[in-house]
Structures are given as structure tokens and as C-alpha cells.
Symmetry: C2
Subunit: 408 residues, 2 copies
């Protein structure tokens, strides 16, 4: 199945419009802080949510709205997470109602999301005052998707959007997504804010199954800082306007849909990891030779989460002992004496550990490889044929700077 | 039971001598890198070890030597962990043999330990050349304990030693310890390098039980960076020279011994946490109101491990939302709507969250409290009467600096 990447975002799929404006939750007038995504017709909807017991109020409201597997629009603000506030649910419902009124749709068809500081009351006034401007500006061009992507950014430094084109049932289909990172990211079952749109026709059960399966290999294998956010959410809206034969969980096209979805989510994972708070490098850990997939995932995630390894990567230091250390405490049942480790980048690859012990290598070559901004850590366990990927980033001065005084 | 802190270390207890020299494993000639501790007579010995599957070779050798519950001496180098090296076991055995020959004791009575970089062969020559000087300088004065404490330091900036005096069975007893931190610290069942000596008479089973129980509330509740080291080890040597009636696990004095041991280990925990790599602040998280102790421990450890909270503490930012976030993803079964959070230091305390939601507080007062270098995070769960403590430190620029290029 051919998947063509196209230069677009959430407006790539037929019948989707978007916009993003500055409503005033953030002080900086140049920063958009309120986003909308809208489908011309009702869409099948699926979502996954954070497993943090502390849940943002918007997630509770969204979960209720998506109980029927249908949605038409998304409203999302940045700058305030609307979490741990006594009136959080009321505010999230007001956001839904305001958008629904303006778009003349049912409030039940609105996905509502918030991201930003936890525990500060969210004032509804700026949203109320801007919702007309927000909806008046809805457009299906690429700039509209960019505006929405900008509006959901918090400490992100790079806009995150992706879109792909593929064929299902003889019909050209499209899928696109926007995402926001970039701290408090250590997904577990669900993940950060990601909104995906597609014109594929797919039933609600199949869509939810596709998403729930996919995140196990994508967003749940991503960690910036080990902190699982209270407001993580991934939603997919599929409006069927591509007119393909409707996909069910048992139909042949389901696998194709999964492949397309995975192309979008992996790309977003890499974008989120590479733009982790303060990050200078995208780290990708590929573990192979495991006797089961869970072992490979456990090892990959442990390595990508190690603060010591992350700091070593910032310093372009081939400190493979920290890789072995992180494997050793991961809880995975592995034979240390069979482990091999390589570092790889555009500049080549270098073997640094074999059979669980160091090998002689050129420090100069290792440095050259590690000075690049996309680093692969390749681990072989020598036990089987299962593998897994995890994504993360280096730990830098700027991570500390950003988080040392984020709130005030 | 009265426990008097005294200004001393591993030579506080009767019959113990120590020393530390520069042997040349480290390039800096001013940094001692080889330590010895010696008991005049055979001592009961207990130890706990890292649960990391990657284990330093010295731990394997020490475990074998302590199988009979007896030891007389400790040799420990810094600058090289002797871990993930093909010849590691041989080198660790050579270290034991060299010390045993010099002290005219059995090699089986030697505790051997190494700390430093993983995966670089440890040259035995510097140790061989210095072992006579090391043993010739053995002394029971406080400077000798300091020399040993200096010799086991890696990135530690502060010497860590403590000693206490107490009475058991009408006899004055003493116990002292030295420790080294300060990165790769997230103990699990066992912990970093800590050597404790005492002149209490206690049988081997009771000593091991006391140590194994104690670390569950002390070293296992300590985290600097979430990375469980490959070389963690805590050992206690008890040589009986205080001449108290020998303590067994069932004797009345066992509880007294536990109290004394806990006084030493808590002090060392606080020292290690406060001198975590790059740390400017000691963080202590006290969780109360839990319906069982494990819940309190899980919550305390999760909060103390949160990179985001650690960075906020560095910035003296009362970002309590990050405390709630870390409680929420800890895996503990708690009712978020009952949680209260206070920050406390020498400058006073301030309530920032009640019933799971923010309360109005003076940012100015919070800043004043958080600018101190010992911060308590007080969490009430409102569910029961169990509690737990955990220790950690802030996340700073210097942590990144130290670990961005530690090896080369």
C-alpha cells in the first residue's frame, strides 16, 4: 500500500475546516491560543485519554460527548489546562456550548480540550468574545490548519502537522493531524493533544480499535520527561467524504487504514520527541532480538527515559554504560551477556558494546555521529525476533530553564 | 531511647580503622580514590545490593564473601565502576586478595566495591602499587574516616559521614557510616554505596533483617534522577566490641538497634539527596493520611521523581499542579478530591491546594519559603493514618552539565 506524504494538516481530508486565533488567555498577542476544527458533515469519532487520575475537566466532557461515537468539531485552547479547578466542568461545557451555538451544531458533537498550566481558573470571557471570529475564519486551506496547530502549542517551538494520501476501495483518501508537545510527556494508554482528521468512511468501533491499537506502538512509546500529563488526549474524526466502502474492524481495508494511521502517528511522535522541551536532538531507540514484543518495548522505553543517557546524548558522549544500566533496571527479563549496542545517525553507525561488554571504538567517530540532531540507539538482545521503537529527546539546560519558572 | 549524634564517621565504633589514598585511577592527584575500612576483630556482616540486572563485578564477589555473614574489611575505589568489563570478576578478586594479603586476613572476609564509569577496564596496577600505603595509614581517628569518605566520592561535592552513640544492654555503643552519591540514584531494594560500622554485638541474621527492613523506608525512598545504579550496595559491619549481650532478631534490644540504624541511614539519605548531582535543594516529601503505607510510599516517591516538579523547585516556583499530576500518574489508588498540598521550609509553610483544587495563596510568601535550600512537600490524602517520607533534590543546569560529558 502506497502512502504519499503531502504538505498539509487537518484540512487535507475532504470536508474539514480549521482556524486558530488569539483570544487573550495568553498575554502575548502574537500567540494564537484558541483553535477550532470542523467537519462539514457528522464524523465518526474515536479518542484515547490520559490514565492520570488527575484528569483535565475537558476530558470528562469530551468523553461524555463521544459516547455515541460521533462528533463534528473540536475546540481547544492553550495557556490554561482547566485542570484542578472547582468550576472546570462548567467551563469546559461552556466552551462546547459556545462553539456549538456558533456553528449551529449539537454541543454533544464537540470535542473540547485545554492545555497549559494546571490549577489556575480558566476565564471563559476571552473565549466567549472570540468564538465568532474563530468560526468566521474557518477555512479548508493549509494556512487554516497551521493556525489551529499554532493555537494549541504551549512550550512547543515547532509547528506539528502532517498529512498523507492513500487509496482505499478505489477512492483517494486523506488523513492529517496536528499535535502539541512538549513537556509532561510520558504517555500511558493515551497521550498528549493530537487531533487527526480523515475523510475515510469507517465505523465507530473500527475507528476506536484502530486508534487504541496504534497508540500502543506510537504515542505510548514516547517520553520527553517521564511525566504523564493530566490532559493527554488523541482524537480522530473520520467524516466518510472519501466515499470508500465503509470500513469495519473485520473488513480487508481495516489493515490499510491502520497503515495510514500509523504513518501519521509515527510522524507526529517523531515531531513531538524532536521538539521536546529544551531538546536539541531527537532520540530513537530501536530494540530488536527480543523473544516477545513487550520485552522490546520495556527495554526501549527504559532507555529513552533515562535522564543520565539523555544528558549524555546532549553532550554527544557515547556513554553506552548508561544504556546498559537502563536496560538492567527496566524490569525486562534479558540476558545482559548477549546485548549489543550501536549509535547511528546520518554520519554513520558505530558499535560500542557487544556481548554486554565494551568494545574498542573510535571516540572521534562516535562524537561525529552523536553531534547530529537525530540519533538512533540500536540495541540487540540476541534472544528472538521481536522488536520495538521508542522516541524521546536529550536533556538540556533549556529543559531546566523552561521548567524552572514556567508558571509565573 | 536516646540517640546522640557525634561528630565522627566509620571510626566511631570501637575497633574500626579506616584510610583513603590517591592511587591513580583518577588523574587528579588531589582526589583520593581508594578507601579501606578495617575491623580489629571479625565482624558480623550484612549487605543489600542493587536490583539492576547489570551488576558491577565487585558485587558478585562481595556477595560470595558475605555468604557466611562475616567480614573484617572493605576496599573500595572510585573513578571506575568495574562493571560491564570482560575481566571484571578477576579484577575484583585481585582487589580482595591484595587487601587480604596486606592485612593478613582471609580474602573471604573482604567487602569489595567500585564506583565510577561503567564499561571501562579497571587497571589493577594503581591499586597494587598503593595497597601497602593504604594499609600502613590505617587509623581510628576522625581524619581517617574522612579520608575514606573522600576516596569513595565521585561527583559528590560534600563528604557524607555520620555517627551516633546509644546504649544497649547497659553498654555504650556506637554506629557510624560513610556514603557516596550522587547520580544514578533511584534505589530499588538496595542502594548506592554506603558502609556502616558498629561495635554492637548482633548475630548475622538479625543484622541482615535490620538492614533489609530499614532500607525500605530509607534508601529505597530516595531518588536523584530515576536511574538505578549497577553498583549500589549498603553494608554494615558489627564487630561486637561494645560487649552488649548479643542481639538476635527476637531479642528486646533488636528494636533499639533498628532505631539507631535508622538514625544513621536517614541522615545519610538526607545528605545524599541534598548533594544530588547539580542539586541546590534537598527535597523531602511527606505523605500522610494514606490508608496503607504502600500507597503513601508510592505517592511520595512519584512526587520526588517528577522532573517537572524538580525543575519547578529549582526555580522556587510553587507549581503545585505538578505535585497533583505526579500523584495522579503514580499508580496509587487515591481520591484526588481529598488531596491537600503544603510547601514548607525554615521560612514557614503555605497551603497551596485543598480538596484537590487550588486555594488562593501569597506568591510572595511561597517564593520566600521555596528560596530556602531544604524544602518539605507535605501531602495529605485524607484517607487514613499511614504515612511515608521520600527524599530527592531539584533538577538544575548543573545536573545537565555534569552528565552531558561525564565520561570523556
Amino acid at each position: 500500500m502506497e502512502i504519499k506524504e503531502i504538505n498539509s494538516g487537518v484540512c487535507a481530508a475532504k470536508g474539514f475546516k480549521a482556524n486558530g486565533v488569539h483570544c487573550g488567555i495568553r498575554k502575548n498577542r502574537d500567540k494564537r491560543d484558541l483553535a477550532v476544527i470542523y467537519s462539514e458533515c457528522e464524523a465518526t469519532a474515536a479518542a484515547v485519554y490520559t490514565t492520570n487520575l488527575v484528569k483535565g475537566a475537558p476530558l470528562t466532557v469530551t468523553k461524555r460527548h463521544l459516547a455515541n461515537g460521533k462528533a463534528r468539531a473540536v475546540i481547544c485552547n492553550s495557556g490554561n489546562a482547566n485542570t484542578c479547578n472547582a468550576n472546570g466542568i462548567t467551563i469546559a461545557e461552556q466552551m462546547s456550548d459556545l462553539l456549538a451555538n456558533e456553528l449551529n451544531i449539537s454541543a454533544d458533537d464537540v470535542v473540547v480540550a485545554s492545555t497549559g498550566v494546571i490549577g489556575q481558573p480558566l476565564d471563559i470571557e476571552p473565549i466567549k468574545n472570540s468564538v465568532k471570529e474563530l468560526c468566521d475564519g474557518l477555512s479548508d486551506n493549509d494556512t487554516a490548519s497551521e493556525f489551529a496547530a499554532q493555537a494549541i502549542m504551549t512550550t512547543d517551538t515547532k509547528l506539528k502537522e502532517v498529512a498523507v494520501e492513500f487509496e482505499i476501495g478505489g477512492k483517494i483518501c486523506r488523513m492529517g493531524g496536528i499535535a502539541k508537545g512538549s513537556g509532561m510527556i510520558h504517555p500511558n494508554m493515551a497521550t498528549m493533544l493530537v487531533f487527526i482528521t480523515t475523510d475515510v468512511a469507517i465505523d465507530a468501533d473500527a475507528l476506536q480499535k484502530a486508534l487504541s491499537d496504534d497508540i500502543q506502538k506510537t504515542f505510548n512509546m514516547l517520553s520527553i520527561d517521564g511525566d504523564t500529563s493530566t490532559n493527554d488526549m488523541v482524537t480522530v474524526l473520520a467524516n466518510g467524504m472519501a466515499e470508500n466502502p465503509i470500513i469495519t474492524a473485520n473488513s480487508e481495508d481495516f489493515a490499510k487504514f491502520m497503515t495510514a494511521l500509523n504513518a501519521v502517528t509515527v510522524k507526529l511522535c517523531r515531531m513531538i520527541a524532536g521538539d521536546g522541551e529544551g531538546a536539541t536532538k531527537l532520540l530513537e531507540c530501536y530494540v530488536s532480538g527480543a523473544d516477545d514484543e513487550q520485552t522490546a518495548k520495556t527495554v526501549a522505553k527504559s532507555v529513552i527515559c533515562s535522564s543520565l543517557l539523555k544528558a549524555a546524548m546532549f553532550g554527544s558522549d557515547a556513554n553506552w554504560g548508561r544504556v546498559l544500566c537502563a536496560i538492567g533496571y527496566s524490569g525486562a527479563d534479558v540476558d545482559i551477556s548477549k546485548i549489543g549496542v550501536k549509535f547511528k545517525s546520518q554520519k554513520g553507525e558505530i558499535l560500542v558494546c557487544e556481548n554486554g561488554a565494551g568494545v574498542e571504538f573510535s571516540e572521534e567517530k562516535a562524537k561525529e555521529i552523536l553531534l547530529e540532531n537525530e540519533i538512533e540507539i540500536l540495541i540487540t538482545l540476541g534472544n528472538g525476533d521481536k522488536s520495538a521503537n521508542a522516541w524521546g529527546c536529550d536533556l538540556t539546560y533549556d529543559y531546566v530553564k523552561i521548567n524552572g519558572d514556567y508558571r509565573t
